[in-house]
Symmetry: C2
Subunit: 209 residues, 2 copies
């Protein structure tokens, strides 16, 4: 996962969520095309406030981001990485990161798994899609069969290792989308049928702190 300006979403329960919540859109002061000051307002024919430039006419749309990851499995054990970067330094996560321009969701999920864990995988089906509207993100996780147990954690991971279900560090999972995906995964594995799961993670109202 390459660090991005936006904080990755939805820390697991117990974390201080309020401090990570960005505004509904990123602050913008100058037009990235012509360098003049932008103004915030609802453009003609639109129904939402956007930053726009009166000088060159550009409307600067802002939209949610996709975060792509995998649930890599080797002989009934699941691969987790311990984060070497903020947010949630030191907590455990499935390999995941922001989708890059020019790649598909499957390509991005596999790329993140290689970058963060050094795992060789065969990517499977889409497993979970979780909206995190308060941080403008949608998280997608694909199932993945590891092709061997070898791991080689990248610079964004303190370590990477395989966990049996009863070893999962539930109190130290970095993000709620990861926690929910792991819960769905073990439920489906017990049933013997893997579905595609969808849902949304919502925080309580933003605190005043």
């Amino acid at each position: 996962m390459i660090p991005q300006a936006q904080a990755l979403a939805a820390p697991a329960p117990g974390a201080s969520a309020a401090k990570l919540l960005p505004l509904p859109f990123e602050t913008m002061k100058f037009c990235s095309i012509c360098g003049n000051e932008v103004t915030l307002g609802v453009p003609p024919g639109d129904n939402r406030p956007r930053y726009s430039c009166a000088h060159c006419g550009t409307i600067h749309y802002q939209n949610p981001n996709l975060v792509l990851g995998t649930v890599p499995v080797w002989q009934d054990r699941v691969l987790l990485c311990r984060r070497a970067i903020e947010p949630r330094y030191g907590f455990w996560t499935l390999p995941a990161g922001f989708m890059e321009n020019g790649e598909t969701t499957a390509e991005g999920a596999e790329r993140e798994t290689v970058e963060e864990a050094g795992a060789r995988i065969e990517l499977g089906d889409l497993f979970s899609m979780l909206d995190v509207p308060q941080v403008k993100q949608v998280h997608l996780f694909f199932r993945a069969q590891m092709l061997g147990p070898e791991l080689d954690p990248g610079p964004e991971s303190l370590e990477a290792r395989l966990f049996d279900e009863d070893e999962i560090p539930w109190q130290q999972i970095a993000f709620r989308t990861v926690e929910q995906t792991l819960q769905w995964f073990f439920e489906d594995r017990r049933r013997g049928i893997y579905a595609t799961h969808t849902g949304a993670i919502r925080y309580a109202a933003r605190s005043q702190e």
Copy 2:
């Protein structure tokens, strides 16, 4: 669908795709935070070129966008809208548009269906996810049960109407993601089982025209 700076992806076969293909990232000349000129290069610890500002230190990440839509059905007929905006003015589409900050994928898909067709729906499961890497988009379509046949097309639709399968204007479908989603929908309906489908739409190499 609110018009956006980015062209909506993947015109159906026969359209002049090359002219709609944007560069791998949007051109940026000035920092949107401090107004100084940005430079393009690979930041320390990163592995891809980004625009960044030497003056204030901001790295301006760019990421793919989500397009959200539905397959609305009323008594075995499917709802399509004829586009009143470019790209693909006059061609038929499922109701769909760019995801907005602060909403979930399901909320956005329902919003677009209301805005473009005035249809009242009960949203169903995620039906298709189609990557369109050349235009940095991922398209999601949800199944939707219409709660009545009444339609009230919005300003971005010339008209909206219900089609039996044998009436679908296959030669006048606006986007390949819509065409593929409709094909999957009718196949699944014949089988009597609706799955969640994933895939990617890729163009031939960019032409020199």
